[in-house]
């Protein structure tokens, strides 16, 4: 002890006070110091526990508050609020199914279109493109994620919707009009427009996260496939994508989360008609849109409560999506220890 303290003094001048203390207390238990350290540990533990639980508490408070605010609607309509299709503020009928339908369908379809596109883009950036081109594209993609959604909405309603109305929708009606999804008149603003705008908005998110995931695939995995005589495509399918599959799924879920909660851009292009139609060409409505559109003009208590209950539904739907996604990831990866998380 003495020896070590002295060498410590020699080479580390700033430990002088510590060594002095050590010399004084050689042989004696350093109770005061230890107790202080233990107390510090304990405080630290309680602090971090507190931080962690504060998140749960905030969530709980939000649920409680929203349930309280929406109580009049909950009491009056019960389950009919979720299953009902009528939304009439004047008569006092509130059924939110069209909003639920609009939110789920637009988000899920957008995700189905965006995920393969994003994975393809991420593969191009990380595996195919020359390094310089890849590192040029990657930040541009991330820049897309930073564009405010109102700008997407503006572009959507002024540029994309007219184009859909004049070109894409007539084509779909003509060629695929026998399908229930492409029937009716071309309005431009429609479920289809919402799906497209959401797709464009979530592609950058999914792409940039997938890119990170693919960059984390070790070179040894790729070399394993290449040494077996795999082509570039086979290497990606055999080694790269399976290694990153849970991370890619996580990326898609983040994209879905964004799509479900997206308000502004969707409100601008979806047409805001509370109806349930199999046709993607008809206007629809989503949960965030109806809240944004109506909260300012809600005068009756019941109307406010109904909007609040839609907010509650949106929160619950988001929680369910996240839970399902976690189950999905867990189901796919529980059998293996490897892969990027």
């Amino acid at each position: 002890m003495q020896q070590r303290a002295e060498t410590g003094k020699d080479c580390l001048p700033f430990t002088t006070s510590a060594t002095d203390r050590t010399e004084q207390t050689v042989g004696k238990p350093r109770t005061v110091d230890r107790e202080k350290a233990i107390t510090g540990d304990r405080i630290f533990k309680w602090m971090t526990t507190g931080f962690a639980f504060s998140i749960l508490i905030i969530l709980g408070l939000m649920l409680f508050q929203m349930a309280g605010e929406s109580w009049p609607a909950l009491k009056q309509f019960g389950w009919q609020f979720v299953t009902g299709r009528d939304w009439d503020a004047v008569q006092g009928h509130f059924g939110a199914l069209p909003y639920l339908y609009g939110s789920v369908v637009s988000s899920v379809l957008a995700l189905l279109l965006a995920t393969p596109l994003s994975i393809g883009a991420a593969i191009f950036i990380t595996e195919i493109a020359p390094k310089r081109l890849g590192s040029l594209i990657a930040p541009l993609v991330e820049l897309l994620a930073a564009i405010p959604s109102v700008i997407y909405g503006l572009w959507g309603v002024l540029v994309m919707a007219p184009w859909l109305q004049s070109t894409v929708e007539p084509f779909l009606i003509e060629r695929f009009g026998f399908l229930p999804f492409f029937q009716g008149a071309p309005y431009g603003v429609s479920m289809l427009a919402a799906v497209f705008i959401l797709m464009i908005m979530v592609v950058p998110i999914i792409t940039s996260i997938t890119r990170e995931v693919l960059l984390a695939v070790p070179q040894s995995q790729k070399e394993a496939a290449i040494a077996l005589g795999a082509t570039r495509w086979e290497t990606i399918m055999m080694a790269v994508l399976p290694y990153g599959r849970s991370g890619i799924m996580g990326a898609a879920i983040l994209g879905l989360g964004r799509a479900v909660g997206e308000t502004m851009a969707v409100t601008m292009v979806i047409g805001n008609a509370p109806q349930i139609s199999a046709s993607l060409l008809s206007p629809a409505y989503t949960m965030p849109s109806v809240i944004a559109n109506e909260f300012a003009e809600a005068v009756s208590k019941l109307h406010t409560a109904a909007l609040m209950e839609i907010g509650l539904m949106l929160l619950v739907v988001t929680l369910i999506i996240n839970a399902l996604a976690r189950l999905l990831i867990w189901g796919v990866t529980k059998d293996s220890s490897g892969g990027a998380a």
């Binding site: 394993a224 040494a227 005589g229 399976p242 290694y243 490897g338 892969g339």
Partner: protein, 252 residues
């Protein structure tokens, strides 16, 4: 004996680094040749040129001729993918595919040939695993994840995966350096058996290993071939002073 692989005045550059300098070696068929030398002498670089793994790095440049069965694998019009199916490779760290079962790992490379019936795949998996002496250990859990195996088992699995493709030459880049002594011994025994069917070129920094497993040895130093010949001769009566100094442990 036939010379399966022949290096003829091979030079390898990485950007401005001249990693391998004018190396010419013959690798006889159905034999084990060890490439030894101190760290950074270019032995792995040389090895990886024999199945065109350097193609992955744009900065790498291979000059000279590398002949497999008499034809230059770097000739224009030669498909590197087809070369790699004839010249397999086992890496330093076991690298099974983590998302696959033991069974799928073994068949992964063979599957690339295209469609096959299940009985054929079963056969390939069984023969390959038997050949690496892993069959008895894993036959009851072929469908479980490959990452549950020990390091030594994983490395033998990777060798099984390589021979399932039916290569003619197997390159091994320090295949036992990440393993414990018992697993190392198993790999060495395996190499001894594999040379009946394949031509094996093994890079190792462990001289005892080279002496135990190889028929021929090439000593590389600073990117240059110092000496090569029968292992017995290299380890008992080397011609070059440098070789003697290295194998007696005076440097390296």
């Amino acid at each position: 004996m036939n010379n399966k692989v022949q290096l003829d005045q091979v030079n390898i550059h990485f950007g401005k680094t001249h990693a391998v300098k004018n190396v010419s070696i013959l690798f006889p068929e159905n034999s084990v040749t060890a490439i030894i030398g101190p760290s950074g002498c270019g032995k792995s670089t040389l090895l990886r040129s024999i199945n065109r793994m350097h193609d992955l790095f744009p900065s790498a440049r291979v000059e000279g001729r590398i002949l497999v069965d008499g034809s230059d694998i770097y000739d224009k019009g030669v498909d590197p993918v087809s070369i790699r199916r004839r010249v397999g490779m086992v890496f330093q760290k076991p690298n099974p595919f983590p998302a696959m079962s033991i069974y799928d790992n073994v068949i992964a490379g063979y599957k690339l040939n295209g469609r096959m019936v299940k009985s054929e795949a079963d056969d390939i998996v069984e023969t390959s695993l038997k050949r690496v002496a892993l069959w008895e250990e894993v036959k009851d859990r072929l469908k479980t994840n490959a990452m549950n195996l020990s390091g030594g088992q994983q490395q033998r699995l990777c060798i099984a995966r390589t021979i399932a493709v039916k290569p003619e030459v197997i390159l091994m880049d320090e295949p036992a350096s990440a393993l414990d002594p018992i697993s190392t011994l198993k790999i060495e025994e395996l190499i001894e058996e594999l040379k009946e069917r394949y031509t094996i070129i093994i890079v190792t920094h462990n001289m005892q290993q080279a002496a135990r497993v190889s028929d021929y040895t090439a000593f590389l130093y600073m990117g240059e071939l110092v000496e090569c010949g029968e292992t017995k001769k290299i380890f008992t009566t080397p011609e070059q002073k440098q070789t003697e100094d290295y194998i007696t442990g005076r440097f390296g």
